[in-house]
């Protein structure tokens, strides 16, 4: 066997094992995606109900005053960024981090004007390398995150706003549309926008008082919004990984085909050459 042929053979083998890995990752991501979507759907009733009650309090009582509903002059901004722990998910992390960095560069001139909350190792490492101010971080989140997993960061983000550490809080995450489409989304979490839905609200009694109930509910509501964003982010991550690994598998197949063709050609050339050498040798003898 000629030397070139052996190299080609080795390359085919390495592409093949790579293809096996990407194929396996694709399938794993697909099954996890289904579960993540299920979790996102299961979380919806809670969020919907909270929203309904908060909206009905806001509609039923006039002049509710709560720090979380008030717009203050903006001196400092908080950003909560949701990324993944692991890579190999296509543009999942890059897209969201680019969006955040762009916004920060446009809006702020110094690191004193904003703070960051990060979920996911990728985002944490990224901001750390740029020595941007991270207040709170969560890494090593499971594939099916529970509310308790993100409670600390959610509570901290909401509480710091209430204390006046910053005057607005933005949420950055990948919104899940379907397995191949995830949109990097920015949404303003705090102060809460007017939650007004023209539904027929029943007149509730509030115990101890509308303000007292609101006091308990609003932070919970904000935390729930963060939680559903995390679940959405998880679903997006698996979707992105599935698509990325799917196309990696496709590319590997293509390369293997190309290499096999080259290999066969080289093999054929070697055989032809051998035959012509033999024939030439025979001719010379006779």
């Amino acid at each position: 066997m000629a030397k070139g042929m052996r190299d080609i053979k080795r390359e085919i083998k390495s592409k093949q094992s790579m293809k096996q890995i990407t194929k396996a990752m694709e399938m794993v991501a697909a099954s996890k995606l289904r579960r993540a979507q299920g979790a996102a759907t299961a979380a919806r009733p809670y969020a919907d109900k909270l929203k309904e009650v908060v909206a009905s309090i806001a509609a039923g009582t006039k002049d509710v005053k709560h720090p979380m509903l008030e717009t203050r002059p903006i001196k400092k901004t908080g950003y909560l960024v949701i990324t993944s722990d692991r890579g190999l998910a296509g543009g999942y992390n890059a897209n969201i981090l680019r969006k955040v960095t762009q916004t920060i560069q446009e809006k702020h001139t110094s690191t004193d004007e904003y703070v960051l909350f990060v979920i996911g190792r990728k985002g944490r490492d990224y901001f750390r390398r740029r020595s941007m101010p991270i207040v709170e971080e969560v890494v090593g989140l499971s594939d099916a995150p529970t509310f308790a997993d993100i409670k600390t960061v959610a509570t901290a983000a909401v509480q710091k706003f209430a204390e006046g550490a910053y005057d607005e809080l933005y949420l950055y995450y990948n919104q899940f549309v379907n397995a191949i489409t995830q949109i990097p989304t920015e949404s303003r979490l705090l102060p809460l926008d007017e939650i007004s839905e023209g539904t027929t609200v029943s007149a509730y009694e509030y115990e101890p008082s509308p303000e007292g109930v609101l006091e308990v509910l609003l932070p919970k509501y904000a935390e729930t919004l963060i939680y559903s964003a995390v679940l959405d982010g998880k679903a997006s991550e698996f979707g992105a990984r599935m698509t990325a690994m799917g196309s990696a598998t496709k590319n590997a197949t293509k390369m293997i085909n190309q290499l096999t063709l080259t290999y066969n050609r080289a093999r054929q050339a070697a055989i032809t050459q051998e035959i012509s050498e033999i024939v030439a040798g025979a001719n010379a003898q006779s």
């Binding site: 979790a39 009650v53 919970k220």
Partner: protein
């Protein structure tokens, strides 16, 4: 006997959904027994067991805070976590209780102390509920 629908919902899933005759909860202002056709009411809850009576049976659920929304024919309890009595893991609850006790004894700053206190309440609540069945 008149009935109403009782739902207990957490961020992760719907924990409980049954038709019941009576519900008793512990609100921030005190204990509440709720029968069908109660006036619409919203109130935050304490970390305490919720008792649901239906057809002579009694269900007890460990509810961790949250709040209750009462309507004429439906009750919704929203909590960060809730477990049916039979789903409670005693060993975990005991371990949590002990952890909380240690933290309380260590006397750290105020935030940690409050957190330990809450954890203690949750653990006690779970153990209480578990012992009732």
């Amino acid at each position: 006997m008149s009935t109403f629908l009782v739902e207990i919902v957490t961020p992760e899933r719907k924990v409980y959904q049954e038709t019941a005759n009576m519900v008793s909860v512990t609100g921030v202002e005190g204990e509440l027994g709720i029968l069908p056709n109660h006036i619409p009411l919203v109130t935050p809850l304490r970390i305490a067991p919720v008792t649901i009576k239906r057809d002579g049976k009694v269900d007890i659920v460990a509810v961790n805070g949250g709040f209750i929304e009462v309507r004429k024919d439906k009750i919704v309890i929203l909590a960060e976590s809730a477990e049916l009595a039979q789903d409670i893991n005693i060993e975990r609850a005991e371990a949590a209780k002990q952890r909380a006790q240690q933290r309380l004894a260590a006397k750290q700053d105020e935030v940690d102390f409050r957190r330990a206190e809450m954890a203690m309440q949750r653990a006690m609540n779970r153990l209480n509920v578990r012992q009732k069945i």
